[in-house]
Amino acid sequence: MAKSTAAKLTTLTASAGVAAMKEAQALDRLIHEKVRLGIVSALAASGPLTFNELKALLQTTDGNVSVHARRLEEAGYITCSKSFENRFPRTEYELTADGRAALEKYLDHLEAIVGAMRPK
């Protein structure tokens, strides 16, 4: 009896593992990277943010914010607007509808992975 229960458990765990790995393969690689995920999450929570605000929030460098924001912009996940305020350049980022949808989809996948491995 105990042996068959253990065998069942092993089969269940293995099938949950397969489900979790399938979900993991479907993850959006573009926003999976930490800095890009941070940018998208911050913009989703607050609305438009400036370059300096994002840098302070994510505690990262100018180069990191600039490189990762550009990749998100190329994918159409965020928009970037440049202007001048009191003669100082000001860069502001905003999440697009595609970006929000991508974050929601990414969250669904993460929850599915965690849910698949949770003991039932």
């Binding site: 593992g17 979790a20 790995m21 995920l37 999450s41 911050a42 929570a45 300096n52 965690v114 491995m117």
Partner: protein
């Protein structure tokens, strides 16, 4: 069993990512235009004002000392708000600054008018409690658009104001020192450390 081990690692990683998203979103919502270091500076100037005011024997002079402190605190507060918004490349007239000003001004303006009437009538005893109560009300209403620590600070001011009205009037100066001095310094340090200066 072999496929479940990497899957567990993937699941742990997914959980970490979820935590990271939540932490980032919480931190984003935690930015406040209220300047922590400005609060500390205002607190220090209020403590100095309390010491100077305590040495006055004429109540009109006592009132003048605190009036000067109000002007000084306004200058300090405005300078630090400008500094903090500029650090974030934001205009002080952007939505958060506007919301703060529109919510903070009415109770403070009411406090100013009430103070003038009480000053004219020589009702010195109720001035400290009135100032603390109405300033606290302004901070609570303005804090509704800010991080939670701001309305909590406002509530502390209001509680102290209530206590000042209930206690002997000779304690009034020290209630002002406790409110505009100590509360500003304590909460200023919390805001400065946790919410970006």
């Amino acid at each position: 069993m072999s496929s479940s081990r990497p899957a567990v690692a993937i699941s742990d990683h997914a959980l970490e990512q979820l935590k990271y998203i939540r932490a980032t979103m919480e931190r984003t919502g935690s930015f406040t235009a209220v300047p922590g270091w400005g609060g500390v500076a205002m607190g220090v100037s209020a403590l100095a004002a309390a010491v100077v005011a305590a040495q006055q024997t004429d109540m009109r002079m006592w009132g003048m000392v605190w009036m000067c402190e109000v002007v000084l605190a306004l200058v300090i507060g405005s300078a630090f708000i400008l500094r903090k918004t500029r650090q974030g490349d934001r205009s002080v007239f952007a939505a958060p600054g506007r919301q703060f000003f529109l919510s903070f001004s009415p109770p403070v303006a009411a406090g100013g008018l009430l103070s003038w009437v009480l000053y004219q009538q020589g009702a010195w005893a109720v001035l400290p409690g009135t100032w603390l109560l109405l300033y606290g009300a302004g901070v609570v209403t303005a804090g509704a658009f800010s991080v939670r620590v701001v309305p909590i600070m406002g509530l502390c001011f209001m509680l102290l104001g209530g206590a000042a009205l209930a206690c002997p009037s000779s304690w009034g100066n020290w209630f002002l020192a406790g409110g505009f001095g100590v509360i500003h310094i304590v909460f200023g340090l919390i805001i400065a450390r946790r919410y970006g200066g």
